[in-house]
């Protein structure tokens, strides 16, 4: 038996193919505004970043599992060519290759899930990871839809993920405690805080990302099932009132009479 084969037997580890779904979101300091009668997000001067849940947790955990057990990490994004710059960051952090499904117009979660499903089906991935939500729309729709479309189990909001052989052990934070479950690959999993620590790409990673494959594939052209009628900004924050600690009765009065909370 070759040295390599015996190593795999002992560790019961399997060379895994990981697919990590990454989306782009506006940098958190972006001033949010809308155009076209408040039906469209104003992209002007927006700095786009990788969705932190995709980057910090899904991607980094996939990389950690690959580094421990061997494997290949592909990232996939649905969007236009402008996204390539940000996709390169995922390659710089350590993904082996990237796929961009060349969708240029608006696409809702269903349209995006359908596009990724086509790529996922043909790729033979053992694990498909994504963030628990995007920080702009907070939809949390994609994972469930994608799993359904490709007929795989879906585990949401995972905060821990380990693999031995074909079986993964997953922890989920649930109301008042934790749930621990196991699942055999392949499956789709959405990742939450706790899964991994954010990684800062180093110079070597950044330079090698330049030559890693970023494959652009034509979209299936699946349409959206929903359309946005209107966006609204939250009401402006009102000023903060300081009440002396010596006058708790004043706090009660204000909460009751002005804020009408009690």
């Amino acid at each position: 038996m070759s040295k390599l084969a015996s190593h795999f037997l002992i560790n019961k580890n399997k060379f895994m193919k990981f697919l990590v779904c990454i989306s782009l979101v506006p940098d958190t300091t972006t001033k949010i505004s809308f155009v076209d009668n408040d039906t469209k997000f104003n992209n002007d001067k927006v700095q786009w970043i990788l969705n932190p849940y995709d980057e910090w947790y899904a991607l980094v955990r996939a990389l950690e599992l690959k580094e421990a057990n061997g494997g290949n990490v592909t990232v996939v994004n649905v969007g236009p060519a402008e996204n390539d710059q940000v996709i390169r960051k995922a390659l710089a952090i350590g993904a082996d290759d990237a796929i961009r499904i060349d969708v240029t117009g608006d696409a809702d979660s269903f349209a995006i899930a359908s596009e990724i499903a086509a790529v996922a089906k043909s790729g033979g991935y053992d694990m498909i990871l994504l963030g628990k939500e995007t920080i702009n729309y907070n939809g949390s729709n994609l994972g469930g839809m994608l799993a359904e479309l490709i007929d795989l189990p879906f585990i949401s909001y995972a905060s821990k993920l380990d693999v031995a052989g074909n079986t993964a052990t997953i922890e989920r934070d649930i109301e008042g405690g934790k749930e621990v479950l196991t699942a055999d690959v392949p499956f789709v999993i959405s990742c939450a805080k706790g899964m991994a620590e954010a990684r800062i790409p180093n110079m070597k990673g950044i330079m090698s990302a330049k030559t890693k494959p970023l494959n652009v594939v034509a979209p299936q052209g699946v349409g959206s099932l929903t359309s946005v009628v209107k966006y609204e900004l939250p009401p402006a924050k009102s000023a903060c009132k300081m009440i002396s600690a010596d006058h708790p009765e004043e706090l009660i009065r204000l909460l009751h009479e002005e804020a009408k909370m009690i």
């Binding site: 700095q47 390169r88 800062i200 790409p201 110079m203 950044i206 330079m207």
Partner: protein, 395 residues
């Protein structure tokens, strides 16, 4: 303690200069920026107050690629271009000039001369260790009696009975008390400047620290003292001939400083803008007063001009066309700009401006060193003067 508005620092790019950067250059800048926010900002005021260099950052600086970014990858460097190197220095100095100084010295004053003037054996032996942060280096040119005039140096490397001995002292040396190796410049028997690598532990070599600095307090500065230190021939840089060898290292470092100063200025300006929008007096934010706006607008204009200067220097560097005099102009202009901005931002924030909640005092005090080392403000002016008149006004 961490500076108040550090987490939403996004730099300044009034003229959309980002469009002239490559994807890699932007990624490099943003990576170092994130690292600084995460690893430097939360501890730096405290380090400066305690007059301590955060030693735990040395390995991290190596890991992130801040040591020898412009040294070829075959020796463990980053193989990056000058603009990338400049952006790294800019972001490090946003954190603190002391951290940037450590990386400048390691990259341009220790790794660069070994790469440029060293033997293949020296390069293979030292460069990867310096790149990873396993070794920390220092650069000894300045002496107690010779600062702006290094040509008059007294340190000697003399051959006696087939052996080389180094005698003399270097002063104001960044990293000296904690360095593993020092690249030292000295005169040989015939008065030519030569370079050698001195290792910690060589008999007769000591590195006392200099106490009582009000500037670069998060960087350790000291002396290098050589009491007839025997230097093996394998430690002499074979290709360094004359004073132009150390001066070429300084050119590389000075370019980094011209870019680094942008970072300190940006950090100050960012904090001043945020605070002046928040703080109200006479019923409106400080930022609503014309006097404040004049200050902010002029500072942003000066910063933007300095950014243009740096970017063009970077381009000339990449094209191999840059001259030392051009770098002098950049270093002189940008450091003075940063120092002025640090002081003005301090003033905008009133009493809060002097506190450790804000980075102004630390940057301003740091920049007093930066405006002096690597050629003083006056010396760089004389270099430009000589360049335009052809007349040497130094002596």
């Amino acid at each position: 303690m961490s500076n108040r508005y550090a987490s939403n620092f996004r730099g300044f790019d009034y003229l959309q200069l980002d469009e002239q950067l490559t994807t890699e250059q932007k990624l490099i800048r943003d990576s170092i920026r994130n690292w600084v926010t995460q690893s430097v900002v939360p501890i730096i005021e405290d380090c400066a107050e305690r007059n301590e260099f955060p030693k735990q950052l040395i390995k991290e600086l190596g890991k992130i690629g801040a040591f020898g970014p412009h040294i070829p990858t075959e020796y463990g460097g980053g193989g990056l271009d000058a603009i990338s190197y400049g952006l790294i220095m800019q972001e490090l100095e946003r954190g603190d000039s002391g951290i940037r100084s450590c990386a400048s010295v390691q990259s341009s004053l220790v790794m660069y001369p070994i790469w440029k003037f060293g033997s293949e054996e020296q390069k293979k032996n030292y460069l990867p260790k310096l790149a990873s942060g396993e070794y920390l280096g220092s650069f000894g040119l300045t002496e107690p009696n010779h600062g702006s005039d290094p040509a008059s140096m007294e340190t000697k490397l003399i051959q006696r009975n087939g052996k080389y001995y180094l005698s003399g002292a270097k002063m104001w040396i960044t990293n000296a008390p904690m360095c593993d190796i020092a690249v030292v410049w000295a005169k040989n028997e015939v008065g030519h400047v030569v370079g050698c690598i001195v290792e910690r532990g060589m008999p007769g070599f000591t590195t006392p620290s200099i106490q009582g600095k009000w500037s670069l307090r998060a960087s350790i500065t000291g002396e290098l003292i050589f009491d007839a230190v025997e230097i093996p021939e394998s430690h002499i840089l074979p290709h360094a001939k004359g004073l132009k060898a150390p001066l070429s290292c300084l050119s590389s470092a000075r370019f980094g400083i011209a870019c680094g100063a942008l970072g300190a200025a940006m950090d100050c300006l960012h904090h001043a803008i945020e605070y002046s929008k928040e703080r109200t007096q006479f019923g409106k934010p400080l930022a609503a007063f014309q006097l404040t706006q004049k200050k902010l607008a002029e500072m942003l204009t000066d910063l933007t001009k300095a950014q243009l200067l740096s970017l063009q220097l970077g381009k000339l560097h990449i094209e191999g066309k840059i001259t030392p005099a051009q770098i002098s102009m950049g270093k002189r202009n940008n450091v003075e700009m940063a120092l002025r901005i640090a002081r003005e931002c301090r003033q905008i924030c009133g009493a809060m401006g002097i506190s450790q909640d804000f980075p102004f005092m630390r940057h301003a005090m740091n920049l007093e060193s930066v405006i002096t080392y690597e050629g003083t403000h006056e010396v760089h002016l004389l270099i430009t003067g000589m360049d335009i008149t052809g007349i040497n006004a130094f002596e």
